[in-house]
Subunit: 238 residues, 2 copies
DNA sequence: TGCCATAACTGGTCCAACCAGTCAACCAGT
DNA sequence: ACTGGTTGACTGGTTGGACCAGTTATGGCA
C-alpha cells in the first residue's frame, strides 16, 4: 500500500458543473437585471438536459442565491441581504483570485467567536484544560513542523468550541475551516501555513488560554484567546 | 381588496416536500446505519417521480447533510462535524418544538458578533453614529410598541454590521434573523417580542453604543454592545 | 381608451429508457 | 486455501419528450 498524494480524478456530475458556471455568472453579475434565462434556454446553451439545469438551480435556491417562481422568471437575489454564511466558500476565491477582504472578514469572525467560545468553555467545561495543555505541549515539541502545528491548532480550537457547548459555534467553525481549505487549495498549503505562523509560534499564549479555561476564569480566557487570534488578522492586513 | 392575514396556501413543490420529509428523518436519525434507501425506493415510498427525489437530495447535499456516491449508496453525514451554520433554520424548531439550547446558542453568537461588529464599526465607520442615534430616538418615542421596537432594533444592528465592513458578519446576521423569523412562526410573534423586551427597553444602552461608535472608541462600543445583547441571552436562560 | 380572453411563454411533474459506476457472488487458476 | 477475473444485480447520472400549472404579453372587443 503506497501513500499516493494524488487527488482523485474528478468525474464531476453535469449538474455540479452547471451549478459552478451559474454561480460564477451570478457572482460576476452577468445577468441583465438579475433575470436568468429560462431552464430550457440554459439547457441548450450548456448543452445538457433540462433536468441537470433544474438540479443546479435547486442548489442555488438552497444557497439563497436565486429566487424561482413558477410561471414567472428566475431572479438573482442580493447575496448581501439574502445570502447565508455558507457563501464564504464561494466568495473567498473568485476567478482564481483570493478576495482578501473576505478572508480578513473570516479571520475577524474567527477571533470573535473563538474568544467567546473560550469564555464559555471556561464557564462550562473547565476540564477541557487537560486536553488543551496536551495539545499545546505537543505543539511546543515540534515548533518547526508547520503542517503539524496547523493540524494541532485545529484540534486545540475544536476542543474549545466543543467545550463551549454552543452548537452554532461548532457549525461556524466548520464553515471557517472549509474556507481555510479553499484558501489552501488556491494559494498552496505553504502560503496558508506562513500566514498563521506568527500565531502558531506563540504557544505560551495558547497555554494561557488553556490555563484560564482550567481555572474557570471566563474573562481571562476570552481576552487571551482574542489577543492570540487577532495575530493572524493583523498578519492578513487587518 | 381585503387585507387577509392568512398565510398563502402553500402549493409547495413536491421536491420541497420530499426535502422536508428527508430532513426530518435525517435529524431524527431514522435511517439505519445512516444509509438512505435508493432514489428509486424513495420515489415509490413518497409516491413521486425519481426526479423530485433527486432534486431534494441535491439540496440535502448542498446543506452537507448527505453524501451521494454513484454506484454506492447515499449516506447521512454527521452535521456536528460537517454541517454549516445555515442548519440553524432547520435545527431551531423540530417536530413543532423549539430547541432552546440551539436558540440560546444563536443568542450567544448574536452577542459575540454584535459586540465585535460594534467595535469594528467604531473604528471604520464612526459616522454611522448619526443614523444610530436617530433610530434610538425613534425607539424612545414609542416604548410600548413592541413590534415597532423590534423592527427598529433590526435596523439599528444592521447599520452597525454594515458599518463594520465585515461581509461575514452581514451574512451571519442574515442567518440569525432567519432563525428569529422561524422562532416567531413557531412561538407566535408576541412571544418573541416578550423575549426581547428587557433588551429593547434599555434604549439608554443603545445610545451608549451609538455614542461610543461616534467617538470612535472601539473598546467602549464593544463592551456596551456586549452587555446590552447579553440581556436576551440571560432572558432565554443563559 | 380601457378591459379581458387567449396565446405564448415560464417552471413543475412525470415516464421510460439507457449510461456509468459499485459491489458481491462465483468461478477459474495457482 | 488463496488470488484474480467475470458476471450480474444493484446504485446514482443523464437523456428526451410529453404534459400540467402557473404568469405575462398581446391583441381585439366594448
Amino acid at each position: 500500500m503506497t501513500r499516493m498524494a494524488l487527488a482523485p480524478v474528478a468525474a464531476t456530475p453535469l449538474s455540479d458543473q452547471v451549478y459552478r458556471r451559474l454561480l460564477d455568472a451570478i457572482l460576476a453579475d452577468e445577468f441583465i437585471e438579475g433575470i436568468l434565462p429560462s431552464e430550457r434556454d440554459l439547457a441548450t446553451t450548456f448543452e445538457v438536459n433540462r433536468h441537470a439545469v433544474r438540479e443546479a438551480l435547486k442548489r442555488l435556491q438552497q444557497a439563497r442565491l436565486v429566487e424561482v417562481n413558477q410561471g414567472g422568471s428566475t431572479r438573482v437575489l442580493d447575496y448581501r441581504t439574502e445570502g447565508r454564511l455558507d457563501l464564504l466558500a464561494d466568495l473567498l476565491v473568485r476567478a482564481g483570485h483570493v478576495d482578501w477582504k473576505v478572508a480578513r472578514s473570516a479571520l475577524e469572525m474567527r477571533a470573535s467567536i473563538g474568544a467567546d467560545a473560550a469564555a464559555l468553555c471556561a464557564k462550562r467545561a473547565p476540564k477541557t484544560h487537560k486536553a488543551l495543555r496536551k495539545v499545546a505541549d505537543a505543539m511546543a515539541a515540534h515548533p518547526e513542523d508547520l503542517p503539524a502545528l496547523d493540524a494541532d491548532n485545529v484540534v486545540f480550537w475544536t476542543a474549545i468550541v466543543e467545550g463551549s457547548g454552543n452548537l452554532l459555534y461548532r457549525l461556524s467553525l466548520n464553515t471557517l475551516l472549509d474556507g481555510l481549505k479553499i484558501l489552501a487549495a488556491s494559494l498552496g498549503e505553504d502560503s496558508v501555513y506562513q500566514l498563521g505562523r506568527n500565531e502558531y509560534l506563540e504557544i505560551g499564549e495558547l497555554r494561557d488560554v488553556a490555563d484560564a479555561i482550567g481555572a474557570g476564569d471566563a474573562e481571562r480566557a476570552r481576552k487571551a484567546a482574542y489577543e492570540h487570534l487577532r495575530r493572524t488578522v493583523t498578519a492578513a492586513g487587518g
